[in-house]
Amino acid sequence: MQWGYISKALGGLFISISLTMIFPMVAGLWYSDSSVGPLIKSMVVGLVGGFLLFALGCKSGIVTLGHREGMAIVTLGWIGAGLIGALPFYFSHTFDTFIDSFFESVSGFTTTGASVMTDIESTAPGILFWRSFTHWLGGMGIIVFSLAILPFLGAGGMQLYKAEVPSPVPDKLRPRIRDTALLLWKVYLLFTVLETVLLMFGGMNLYDALCHTFGTLATGGFSTKNASIAHFQSAYVDGVIIFFMFVAGVNFSLHYQLLTGKPRKMLQNSEFRFFCFLVMLFVVITTFAVYKDSYGSIPEALRYSMFQVISIITTTGYATADYETWPFLPQAILFMCMFIGACAGSTGGGMKCMRIMLLLKHGYRELFRLIHPHGVSQVKLHGQQVPQDIVSSVLGFFVFYILLYCTGVLLVAATRVDVLTSIASVAATIGNIGPGLGTVGPAENYSHMPWMAKWILAFCMILGRLEIFTVIILFIPEFWRK
């Protein structure tokens, strides 16, 4: 382990995160609220910590960064970001306990959107802005963010990138990792501007439009209103947010291809097609299931079910309807969506459509081999054979995901939380969704959970965001062996 370099990289990362607190400060000054003092305090603490780490490691020269260092930097970086992000909540006494602040901050960075905030609208706008802003930073990835702005990470960038964006089939848009990171951020920024403007046309002020854009494009789910998106009571706002949630759930490399005039790359991408197919299927079933019981008309039912299905499958977690009052079938569909998640390379979480697709193809291949014991068939993607080690890593991922999910459920249940809530809360945090079922449904929040459960769920969020392996590997003794 090259601790010098790790410390230097973490220092750089923390400094840049702390500096971004300038934005919520602007919001705080604009509304002249009580958040500016705590934000300055948090920024100073973050900067001092960052500079200390940076100074500790600044002597370390240019080294080749191994994948172990990469994983350590990414996991520690995300935990550290969660801690720094918790400071404004803690210093402004938004929450009484530190774990509540940490939970909210991790929920922000990992774009989960699970909240422990009971009365959102009475909280200072500066703090709420920071809360939504952590979504935006975490959505494209804080490591990708720092790759784009910190030149010294260049050499080992690929290791960091792969540890944070562990797509089964990685794609690099440009030869240099820094250029790739910059491009992704440019696309992200473009969508941010677009959605903000469109939301403002719908009557939102700049502040609300920005905060909800952060929540949408990062597939986060924090709102500045107690009633979430339902507060606006506008079909236009619903429509804009549905569209951008969907956009955020698609691989950003495909968006780049589309924007550079190669729409066929997107339309012919099998993961994108699979994702569209799933969304359509679930929307249709949900619409018909809820239309009789909950809404009188098809358009009404379509509006709410479309919003909810896309919100959950892209792992955003915004709500315009309390789906717990819906019939059981759509609830079950939404629960499944929590596991499926969005496309690889998007800002969404979950297991990712790509993996589900490869699993299904692999499953079909097994059946094929039972029918034709001497048959030869390959798992193919875009007409090309998928190497066996990728298929087995997907299988491994699935096994670990389910295993850790079960462990999480048992642990949460051990803190005296009821079974449905335990099952749903772990699914909603490990998949970075936010609202679950039971007592953590879209109409409630996580504030009543026992403090132990909050730690467990916060850990689940980081696990889910970094797609299991990067985090779990740090707990394997073999990892630390020299």
Binding site: I62, T64, H67, G154, A155, G157, M158, Q159, K172, R174, P175, R176, I177, R178, D179, P387
Partner: protein, 454 residues
């Protein structure tokens, strides 16, 4: 120059990709073998593309149209030729370089290739390695020799042994003792460290120092460093493969007495048919009695040039044991190169390293007149033309703030060469030889305003 497409991620491709990626170029590597590509992807900031360089589709995907430079450096001559051809069709503007080894493609076919396929440079690693050997032979007892300004400036790598009078002395002492002999000590290699020396640095035993001087005073400088100048006359080459034959051919035409030892009788017959004055001997290069019989102890230089690294090392060690002969060892595997001086075999030649150096020189073409890499790849010596806007113009050198690890070795102006002192002033149009560490290259580009880009 920004974007470079490299076909072939073998040792040559990998090392060039590594060098260029470290200098912030956009590098795309194409190879058919997923394992070597994985190595590239994991260790370098480059874009790997799985596929054959012969496939125009793959070439398009690599963005060859936006590339400035196209390097075809696979093991297969035919792949290199065909991919260069397709690259030329797809992107007529791109500068192409192909690595071509086979004798078949030399002479007239080489002309056809460069004319019809517009391959800007054809590089033959064996030929480059032969050049390395002749350079080494031109300076007795140097471990490494580089040349600038058409050979007028020599850069000598000298090993300091324990009986050298300079052990424990500072650079400033040595300068004072030299009595105004114009030379400059550019860099010291000590174990794994690279030191760009200042006056206060102390020379230690077993250091490898690089000294730049003019060709005319080579003997004085060598004499000053107590390296007995001794001319090489008789040379024994062990191994008569492609490289051995080329080497023997070149050396016999330079009037050296050449003996070449080859195991395979059939090959020996071929060799004797091609070679005129050289003596061809059929036998094993590790056969002690045979070597004694052929007067190995009277040889001035023994060059181990078989295709097998182990055999080469063994032969060289045997030759070292028997006599005074200087040995030059051919090494193929890069991993062995840093270990060679540890076993006392300082003079090495590697066709791959030679090819890499030539390719990099070519890559830096433009304002950089020539470039060589020292000791693998940590230090580079660049020969550049000082531009009028450059930060090194018009002030005495002692007043210029140089980036770390950057040193001016030599200045020449209108056929006059100067080894600079602190008072030297550089004028626009001067050619300047700059020594820099790898990290310093971008600083040289930036601060000294010597543009390396095309």
């Amino acid at each position: 120059m920004k974007r470079v497409v490299i076909v072939g991620a073998g040792e040559v491709g990998y090392y060039i990709a590594r060098r260029l990626a470290a200098e912030n170029k956009e590098v795309i590597v194409i190879d058919r073998n997923p394992d070597v590509l994985n190595r590239c992807e994991n260790l370098l900031d480059v874009q790997p593309i799985l596929g054959s360089g012969n496939d125009p589709q793959i070439l398009l995907e690599s963005g060859v149209k936006e590339a400035d430079l196209f390097l075809a450096v696979t093991n297969s001559d035919e792949t290199n030729i065909i991919s260069s051809f397709f690259a030329g069709v797809l992107a007529p503007e791109v500068v192409k370089l192909a690595r071509i080894r086979s004798e078949m493609y030399h002479g007239i076919s080489r002309e056809i290739l460069s004319r019809e396929l517009k391959i800007d440079m054809i590089i033959n690693p064996e030929e480059e390695a032969v050049k390395t050997v002749t350079r080494l032979l031109s300076v007795p007892d140097a471990e490494d020799v580089g040349e600038f300004a058409g050979g007028r400036i020599k850069l000598l790598g000298l090993r300091i042994d324990q009986c050298s009078p300079f052990v424990g002395r500072t650079i400033a002492d040595i300068r004072a003792a030299s009595g105004g002999l114009p030379f400059i000590i550019g860099v010291i290699f000590r174990d794994e460290c690279t030191i760009i020396p200042t006056g206060g640095d102390i020379i230690r035993e077993n250091d490898l120092i690089y000294v730049a001087c003019e060709r005319g005073i080579l003997r004085e400088v060598l004499g000053f460093f107590r390296c007995a100048p001794r001319d090489a006359k008789n040379i024994m080459i062990i191994g008569g493969g492609r490289f051995g034959l080329k080497l023997a051919h070149t050396l016999e035409s330079k009037n050296y007495g050449v003996k070449i030892v080859e195991k395979d009788l059939r090959r020996c017959e071929e060799l004797s048919a091609v070679l005129n004055r050289a003596v061809v001997i059929n036998g094993d290069g590790t056969d002690w009695d045979l070597l004694l019989e052929e007067n190995i102890h009277h040889m001035d230089v023994v060059i181990s040039a078989t295709g097998d690294d182990g055999t080469n090392i063994l032969c060289s060690l045997l030759a070292k044991k028997t006599g005074e002969a200087r040995t030059i060892t051919r090494v193929n595997r890069f991993a062995y190169i840093p270990m060679m001086s540890a076993v006392g075999l300082g003079n090495i030649v590697s066709s791959r390293l030679a090819a890499i150096n030539t390719i990099l020189q070519f890559v830096r073409r433009g304002r950089v007149v020539s470039a060589i890499a020292l000791k693998g790849e940590n230090v580079e010596v660049l020969e550049v033309v000082a531009e009028a806007k450059s930060g090194i113009i018009g002030k005495p050198l002692k007043d210029i703030k140089f980036p770390r690890g950057v040193l001016i070795l030599c200045v020449f102006r209108e056929d006059q060469t100067h080894i600079p002192t602190g008072d030297t002033v550089i004028e626009p149009g001067d050619r300047v030889v700059i020594l820099t560490t790898r990290q310093g290259i971008s600083a040289v580009e930036r601060e000294l305003m010597v543009k390396m880009k095309r």
